[in-house]
Every structure is written in C-alpha cells, then in structure tokens.
Symmetry: C2
Subunit: 300 residues, 2 copies
DNA sequence: TCCTTTTATACTCGAAGTGAGTATATCCGG
DNA sequence: CCGGATATACTCACTTCGAGTATAAAAGGA
C-alpha cells in the first residue's frame, strides 16, 4: 500500500436555465451527477473535464470553475484500501445548446431542493422542515442555543431574512438532523429527491457557489442566448436565486454596470409591448470586477 | 498503469501577522510551502491537514479552508507515470502562537511579492514590472489590445485603480510574460523571491483569497490576539490588504458590524493617548454574513 | 509647569447608492 | 377603440460611504 496513492475522479455540476427553470445534468435518470476517472494525458484538470464533457454530452461548455475536492472516509474505493478523491467542477451551459425540458439527463434543481425556490413565496415544505429542525435543536440541551442560532440564521427564522446564498448550510444542517436519506440513519425522513452517495451535497455546493457568484461576476450571461430581453435576463437570475426581484431596480442595476448593449431589434413574443433585444458586451467583461453589487430584492 | 490512480499531496498556506507584517510558514529556508502526502486513516482532508500541521509546527490552527486542487502535467510524479494531485489549503494562525520575525520558518509575504505592498505608496519595483509588461503587450500585435486591457486592469494603469484582490491575476500575467523564474524560460528576469515548483503561485492564490475574504467575513480576528486596540486591528487589515485605510471610516465600519466589544481595559503602550482594548464577540460571528462591506480606502 | 507631539476618539457633511413606488408607452385581441 | 398585458421611464426618501475636521488624553522636553 503506497502512501499518498488514491483514485482520482472528476464530478461535474453542469447547469443550464431553460424555460425559467434551472437544471442540472444528471446520469442514472437523475440519481447521480456525471463523473468519471481522471485519466492521464490531459494537460490539466480543467482541460480534462472540458474534453470529457464534450464527449459525453455533445454540448459546448462555456464557463467552468473548480468547486471543491472531497475525500471523506466513506468515499473509500470499494475494492481496495485506497481512497477516492473527487474533484468537483461547476460548469455553465447556454440555454440554446441545452436539451428541452422533457429530454432525459437534465433535471430541475428544485426537484432535489424544493425548499430553495422562493419565487412563489415561502414554500410550504419549509414548515415541515423547520418543524423537524426544531426537534433536533431541542434534542440536545447542551448545544441547544448554538443549534438554534444556526437554524434561525440558515432558514430565516426569528427575524432573520431568508438568504438564498445559504443553500449549502441548509442542506448540511438537514443532513446533521437526519432529514435527508443520504445521512444513512434508518429513521431518516427525506425532503426533496435524494441522490447517489454525496452527489446531492455536491449539487448544493454548486448551487450555492453560483448564487453567490452572480452577484459580483457577470456569469449569468453564460446561460443566456446571444440576444435576450431584460425580462428574460431578470427571470434567469430569479430562477437561479430562487427569488423574485424588483423590476425597475434590476434594470437600473444592469445598465449602470454597462455590461449589455441594444441589438437594435425587438421582439413582440412576450405578449405586451415589444421588448428591446440586448446582447452581452464580450469585450468588456473579461476583466470586470463588479464590486459589491447586491441583488435588488422585492418584498414578496 | 491504472486509470485514475494518482499521488495525493496536501500543501498548506499558513499565515500569521506579526509586527504589522503578514507572514507565511515555509520549509527549506523559505523556498517551499510545507507539504506532505495525504495518508489514509484521516477522517477527511481537513482533519488530515489539521493533525499534520499540529505535528509539524506545534501551533494550533484556527481557521482552515480549502484553496484549490492542482494537477497539471508538469506536476507529474518523477519516478512513475502517475500524476501528483496537490490539494492546497489556507490556514490562519494567531499572532501570539506564531514565532517572532527572526525565527526561521516564517517569511514575509512581500519578500515574494514586493509589488503587492502599497502601504507606503506605489512600490518603485512596479515601474520596472509594468515597463516589461508593456514589452510583452507589444510583442504580439494580434493580441495587443486584449493584453493591454488585462495589464491595465490588473496593475491599475490607464485610469484604473489598484485593486488589491487581483494578486493572483498579476502573478499569472507576470508568469505569462516571463517575469518570474518559475516560468522556466532561460531569459526570464525575476521579480521578488521565487519558490520551488508552483509554490509561489499557490501562495498568491492564498493571499488573493484572504484579501477577498476579509471584506465579507470576519476572519481577521483569527489572526488577532485575545484583546487588541482598534489601531492594531486596522494595521493588521492594512498588512493583509497591502493598503492604508481611512481611520475614522474604518472605525465606523467595525462598530456598525457589532463584531467586537470593549474589555473595559486600556493600554498606553502605543505612545499617545491610551487606547481601549477590545475583544471579538465569538458568540455572534459564527453565522455572520457581512454583506458587501468594502474596505474604507484612503486616497494616498 | 506648560507646551508640543503623538495617538485615540468623536462628529459633520455632501455625494452616491439603494429600496420602493408611480407614471407612461406600445403591443395584442376582442 | 378599449382593456389587458408587458415594457420602459421617472421620482423620492433613506442609508451608506468617502472625506475631512475637531476634541481628548497620555508622554516628554523646555
């Protein structure tokens, strides 16, 4: 047994937004994230994954960034004493290139995390979740206060506002409390659709990262078609954040960043007054550091 | 040759601030970052590193977060066809626990990146660097415009302000342009002290991450002693950011976050009027998400 | 002793940014 | 041609932020 030798694996969280629904690419009918061994011959991890995704999906991959490297004991390779190291990536795929809603492979984010979509108000499922979280808080008197603070903060209770960035913390709290079947306890109740091994946690990591990133980097445009209306752009952001935004302020935010420009054309497919079409200003944004731009939320 | 099998290695960027100077723990008299094989038997990477750092340094490790996982071709293990995967971590060590300035093992950040310290104004070395960067920009006419934009943005030229968060981009540009010996080209001029393999790049990654993080998470306190004055706190932040801050606004920022409280004592070691001592409010901050707090910079 | 230096702490003010609401424009379909 | 729907434009109060100024309390030398 060589010291420091391990199986290396790549796992991808590939996301697209189609029809106002954020989706993730899956295998095994939605039970697992696509993954594969890290083979020699690639110039780098990044290049390896890009090539491999191209082969597997046929979709060109736009934005790609490393998420996290996992190597917990329970991820040990079955047929040896060697450990498996999983290096996860977040990739964004353009809407046009992604298959339609019905096609297999792509599943909605909120199938796995129904409590994360607040576009239609606070989801009803949250009442059940926070009720059980309270049981968990009360279960261990010594840590009660600390647990209560964590739960209130993560789920927006006791005066705290719902924070869409905390999806990973919420999943981890639910895992600790035994509210997801991946936790393995036999008595576990499950909320949302579960996944193979720790893939749902990796998905949560990807979602949280993307939700945080859209606030200070113009990555949304990696998910948009070549030309789009401001409403389309807003609905895409809303889909990712799981929140509704204040329309006038969203528009003000967008054009003061000077990230987009009019194409000169308009579309009347939206029902009412025709909307101007915009395109992303590629030249500018490679080096754009949007400082502290928070999303313009709308109260309910 | 087994597919997906690789050597796994941990690399740590351990930082402390002593005497207004940010330092990093090194081995080989400052030529390399501490690293070691990832052995079986640890519960997780995090636990593995924590234990290993404790053994190696004797210092308790406060904050710890994963930085990045590297696996480029040039990092291939010498005596086999197998690749080495390096998982890097950023760790923060409290000032009191860290050894003094003279002791071996700890070296100042700005020994490796002298152009990153702007506390005394724009460093003179930057003139030499940007001069050579301009040569690189001009060297390939086809990519001139693009390169010019990248350089101007990263180094704060042509109207752009110096942005302390872009340390990694600056190092990578200098690498591309052959201004650091690690790039391997024989004609390379070197700025700053170089390190073994890609360790200096990993250090740059850690510095950039920490500089970004202190703006929205109260990690500075992981580097402070139990009680401290506001000026001490400010000088620690200034050391990390490589910038001077506007004192009144820094204080306003700090106390509107409600992260610290007075101990009731004061110290007159500072020379002038005695300063109140403060301590960090541990109970609060575990779940504190400081939204968009930018640093209060001072002009010049 | 008092005056200067040094550092700490407190207050003010205008510019810019943000949350929230209202008003006008232009299409479609009856 | 009128109502419904969507797009776009403007306003206003409030908060935050950059920048500067003023006062307080020690040390040390003339």
């Amino acid at each position: 047994m060589t010291i420091g030798l391990a199986h290396a694996e790549l796992i991808a969280v590939l996301s697209a937004v189609t029809g106002d629904e954020p989706r993730v690419m899956t295998v095994r009918s939605g039970d697992a994230l696509p993954s594969g061994p890290f083979e020699l011959g690639h110039r780098s991890l990044q290049a390896g994954l890009r090539e491999w995704v191209g082969d597997q999906t046929g979709h060109p991959l736009g934005y790609l960034e490393q998420l996290y490297t996992f190597a917990d004991r329970d991820r040990t390779h079955e047929d040896a004493g060697e450990r498996t190291i999983s290096i996860s990536y977040l990739g964004l795929v353009r809407e046009q290139a992604a298959p339609g809603a019905g096609k297999p492979g792509w599943h909605g984010w909120y199938e796995y995390f129904p409590w994360e979509d607040h576009r239609g108000g606070r989801p009803e499922i949250l009442a059940g979740i926070t009720g059980r979280m309270q049981d968990w808080v009360a279960a261990e008197p010594a840590r009660r206060e600390h647990r209560q603070r964590r739960v209130d903060f993560a789920f927006g209770l006791d005066g705290a506002a719902w924070n869409e960035d905390l999806g990973l913390q919420r999943y981890e709290l639910m895992y600790e409390a035994g509210l997801v079947t991946e936790a393995g306890s036999p008595s576990a109740k499950n909320f949302g659709r579960s996944m193979f091994a720790d893939h749902r946690r990796i998905l949560a990591t990807g979602i949280a990262r993307l939700r945080a990133k859209i606030k200070y980097r113009p990555v949304v445009f990696e998910l948009m078609p070549e030309s789009f209306t401001l409403s389309q752009l807003q609905r895409t952001v809303e889909a990712l954040a799981g929140l509704t935004l204040h329309k006038p302020n969203f528009r003000r935010l967008i054009d003061q960043q000077e990230l987009i420009e009019e194409t000169g054309e308009a579309t009347s497919e939206t029902g009412g007054r025709p909307a101007k079409l915009f395109r992303y200003r590629h030249a500018v944004l490679e080096e754009r550091a949007l400082s502290g731009s928070k999303l313009p939320l709308s109260r309910n």
